[in-house]
């Protein structure tokens, strides 16, 4: 294979080696210095992010971030993208995305207990690409279900959105979280000169060769030819690998372990050596292979799934082998830890690669790519003239839309109750998983909003962090730490790089403010097809802590309860309506700016919300997000209880009902005075909107009825929206 390294990087390779690289070495550099593995375009900006608070035990740079949750228990979590593979082969691409992030969690010693997915596609009713988009969505969902269900980890939430910019570039971001005790944490370090390096798990084949390098390129007309770059997943093998690894870790004979994910054997060997400041020497003849005649290049760069590399204490190999034998898995000593600080690869004794570890793993060229231009956007600033003819029809249109409709069709394919920890599964503001060993539960929320971030990458990113934290607060959880997945276009274009930089700065500001440090994450660049970039789409995963108990959920539970809006009706204007779901689904356009965020006010609303929920005052609780107040209210009616409400606002009805101003949470309660008292203590607005009632949702303003609709009708369009889009009736 020809070198894909640019000339300056090629020169650096020669300088490091002080000679011409071999073909295998060239392949190794190419993949380790790919954008995917080296973060070469983003690293200098990522370094500005907050990564510490007292709970953070392990920050970025490891396989996953780890935080302390008390009682000697820790959780590991991270998000990863599998965008490119999922476009080329949706089922396997998504499945191996789940597999990869699960290995990141259990390679650290944690047992995975939850998965969430943020997935984005082109519109299902797109005139040109609709059929392909439907096929991709179906395949991605089946792939996630296949892998997670068989592995036995509950898929407890996520988000699904549709925009034309994802037509040729769907996004599949998978978040996983695991739990362990403090003394069960393992690192990917090859310590102890003379210790054996052991390969465990599936045999190596030719699949996925150069996958990480592929993920660092744009798509062209030739992308179909990249199908062999996509790996094939075997969740059963992964389940065995999980159990065997955790059991082997308990023997005490393992000193370091790392999964073979992107860049396979190459990445695991040089990173483990680099972290420990040691060397690793392996001979490929010992690597279990499922194909014959593989070249050193192919073995080193294969991304075959369900494999791990571990370093054991010398003399205790048999303890490790016994565990893997029990689980019916291959385990073979392939090499040894050395004091050379080099990665030396032999093929039947003959040296095929001899590279200094640190230079390879940690000293990839870093770029400060030009970004001193305005972030790319073509949307106008001024709002078009708009006036609603029928607010009820607008609401129904929005509820049936891809972004806002119920995603039940998707999440019912995921086993979300396995492991009997799911207190709140998909469909809520945040998922909640209890930790059986303590009385602490973990709440988690995934959020992205390409629309907002396209209009203003910095403010859009801050808004979605605020939203994640608000989602957690709505179930009573305190946000404590975050992981991020940055999905952007080609960073070599300054106006795209500017989006990335602005967005990262937004993450820094908001995560500092909400004290949710970034403990790790993933950057996916070059999300472009035929020169068309996706909208800037950072996806945040934020976790929160709460005391274990019955969850407070979205739907109204009883008639006669007071419906209250913590944070107040909020404000907006025509310009700030441009990124809303109203603009998208009713007016079918985009303009202006995302909603305005006052972080200080937002934080007070969140604190008040947590207090209300934790005091047991809220029978139901729901964050006001995409679609605004009217959509949030309609979602509160999902159990069949409606409400009669009055929205007092100086805004005209379209804005009052559908603006997406942040810092608002809906609760229903029997104790409105107590809620008001808490709101007052935190100096936030709190409005009594009205009272819950049977079967009807009626929203008035001070002079007239704006919307009056049977709850049954709301439910029908909301629940059947996705199926309608997936199975269009051809006339």
């Amino acid at each position: 294979m020809a070198s894909q390294l640019p000339p300056d990087e090629m020169a650096k390779v020669r300088a490091i080696l002080q000679r011409e690289p071999t073909e295998t070495e060239l392949g190794i550099f190419n993949v380790m210095w790919s954008e995917h593995c080296s973060y070469k375009s983003s690293k200098i900006h990522l370094k500005t992010l907050p990564t510490e608070n007292p709970r953070v035990l392990v920050g970025p740079g490891e396989n996953a971030g780890i935080i302390d949750i008390g009682d000697n228990i820790a959780i590991a979590f991270k998000i990863e993208s599998h965008n490119h593979p999922s476009f080329i082969e949706p089922f396997q691409g998504a499945a191996t995305g789940v597999g990869g992030i699960l290995r990141d969690i259990f390679t650290m010693g944690a047992r995975p207990i939850a998965v969430m997915d943020a997935i984005r596609f082109g519109p299902l009713d797109d005139p040109q690409n609709g059929e392909r988009n439907r096929r991709i969505l179906t395949g991605v969902v089946e792939g996630i279900a296949h892998y997670g269900n068989c592995f036995g980890v509950p898929t407890v939430g996520g988000e699904t959105q549709f925009e034309a910019c994802y037509n040729g570039n769907p996004l599949v971001n998978v978040f996983a979280l695991g739990v362990f005790k403090h003394d069960e944490i393992f690192f990917g370090k090859a310590t102890g000169v003379g210790n054996p390096v052991i390969y465990v798990g599936a045999k190596t084949g030719r699949d996925g060769i150069q996958g990480a390098a592929m993920a660092s390129e744009e798509f062209s007309e030739n992308s179909a030819s990249k199908r062999p770059n996509v790996q094939v997943g075997d969740p059963f093998m992964e389940k065995l690998l999980l159990e065997a690894c955790l059991e082997a870790m308990h023997t005490g004979a393992i000193v370091g372990i790392q999964d073979m994910g992107a860049a396979g054997l190459t990445c695991s060997t040089c990173e483990m050596g680099s972290r420990a400041e040691t060397g690793i020497e392996i001979d490929l003849k010992y690597v279990p292979q499922r194909e014959t005649g593989m070249t050193p290049y192919e073995i080193m760069l294969s991304e075959s799934q369900e494999r791990m590399l571990l370093v054991a204490e010398k003399g205790r190999e048999e303890e490790v082998f016994a565990v893997f034998r029990k689980w019916g898995l291959d385990a073979a000593t392939v090499g040894v830890v050395t004091d050379t600080n080099k990665l030396i690869v032999r093929d039947h004794g003959e040296i095929v690669a001899d590279i200094p570890n640190r230079e390879l793993a940690d000293e990839a060229p870093l770029y400060d790519r030009p970004h001193n231009v305005k972030p790319y956007r073509t949307a106008p600033m001024e709002a078009p003239k708009f006036e609603s003819k029928d607010l009820k029809a607008d609401l129904l249109t929005m509820l049936a839309s891809g972004d806002l409709c119920s995603k039940r069709w998707i999440w019912q394919q995921y086993d979300y109750t396995v492991r009997t920890n799911t207190l709140a599964g998909p469909g809520g503001d945040a998922a909640i998983i209890r930790i059986k060993e303590t009385d602490t539960s973990i709440a988690m929320s995934l959020d992205g909003n390409g629309r907002y971030c396209y209009l203003d990458p910095r403010e859009g990113t801050k808004l979605l962090i605020a939203e994640c934290c608000r989602n957690l607060s709505a179930v009573g959880a305190e946000p404590v730490a975050a992981t991020n997945n940055l999905n952007f276009g080609n960073p070599e274009r300054p106006e795209i790089m500017a989006q990335l930089v602005e967005s990262i700065q937004g993450i820094g500001e908001a995560c500092r403010f909400f004290d949710t440090p970034i403990t790790g994450g993933n950057v996916s660049l070059y999300n472009e097809t035929l020169g068309e970039a996706i909208w800037p789409t950072p996806v945040m995963g934020i976790v929160g802590l709460m005391k274990t108990g019955l969850p407070v959920t979205i739907p109204f539970k009883n008639e006669g309860r007071t419906v209250m809006l913590l944070g107040g009706v909020g404000s907006s204007d025509e310009t700030r309506m441009g990124g809303t779901q109203y603009a998208k689904n009713v007016l079918k356009t985009i303009w202006g700016l995302p909603p305005a965020l006052d972080m200080d006010y937002e934080k007070r609303v969140q604190t008040a919300t947590r207090e209300v929920v934790r005091a047991g005052l809220a029978e139901s609780s729901h964050d006001v997000g995409a679609g605004g107040l009217a959509v949030a209210l309609a979602e509160c009616c999902a159990n069949g209880i409606g409400a009669a409400l009055e929205v007092k606002s100086t805004l005209r009805p379209e804005l009052a009902l559908f603006h997406e101003g942040p810092s608002r949470v809906l609760v229903s309660t029997t104790s409105p005075e107590a809620v008001e008292k808490i709101a007052k203590a935190h100096n936030i607005e709190c409005v009594r909107l009205g009272v819950t009632m049977k079967e009807q949702l009626r929203i008035d303003d001070s002079s007239k009825t704006l919307i009056d609709v049977p709850v049954k009708q709301l439910r029908e369009v909301w629940e059947l929206g996705l199926e309608g889009l997936l199975h269009p009736v051809h006339v």
Binding site: W327, W411, Q412, Q413, T420
Partner: protein, 225 residues
């Protein structure tokens, strides 16, 4: 009482069953590894949910040949209680403990949701603590849970009062809404829904406990005789 939970490679509800019997119900529960030739000293055996041996061929088709299933057969032949949940039901059918087959769900998709079951008979050690016609809400989570058999078998199951639970809102197309059945001797039951996932108040339903508690009650009665 002592409950033995069989662990196949690929079982993933083994811990859930263990937790329900030991922590939610307060009995003793232990794991039985798939290559054991004995189930050990237990009062009842649970075949848990999951994907035994990956289930790439046909659900339960490989588990049928595992050493532990020989031991389970011996245990069942001696009158021991065996409950197969989800993949456990599929294994019991593959092994011929129970008639019929479990095929892909009607709409060819995995389905995870709560369903309502009706207890069809209390004449079984798995429902003796319930009342006939009692409705219980428990989760299902399976891709191949559509119960299928010919009319003769279905008629026979009904005639012999061996349909133990039926779906009120059939999630998978099972014939005659069958969710769980027992063998002729009534000591072996298979069901697709997960009663062990509805045994803890925090999880929103404890209505699955009646199945687990019936097993305990019948074991207590048996021990008293």
């Amino acid at each position: 009482m002592r409950f033995g939970v069989v662990v196949f490679p690929g079982s993933n509800c083994d811990h859930d069953a263990w937790y329900a019997f030991s922590q939610n119900l307060g009995h003793s529960a232990e794991f039985i590894w798939h290559d054991s030739h004995s189930v050990g000293d237990v009062d009842a055996v649970i075949l848990p949910g999951g994907f035994s041996y990956g289930d790439y061929l046909r659900c339960g088709a490989i588990a049928k040949f595992s050493p532990v299933m020989g031991a389970v057969r011996k245990f069942a032949d001696q009158g021991g209680l065996v409950l197969g949940i989800c993949n456990g039901f599929q294994i019991l059918v593959e092994c011929g403990f129970l008639p019929g087959a479990l095929i892909r769900n009607r709409d060819l998709r995995f389905v995870c949701r709560d369903v309502t079951l009706r207890i069809e008979t209390t004449n079984s050690p798995f429902t003796c603590a319930a009342t006939k016609g009692q409705l219980i809400r428990v989760p299902v989570a399976h891709g191949e849970g559509c119960y299928f058999a010919d009319d003769k078998i279905l008629d026979q199951l009904e005639a012999e009062d061996r349909v133990i639970v039926r779906y009120m809102d059939n999630p998978n197309g099972s014939l005659r809404d069958i969710a769980g059945i027992c063998n002729e001797q009534r000591n072996v039951m298979g069901m697709m829904p997960h009663p062990e996932r509805a045994a803890d108040e925090l999880l929103g339903s404890t209505e699955g406990r009646v199945i687990l508690e019936s097993m305990v009650a019948s074991l207590v009665t048996k021990a008293g005789k």
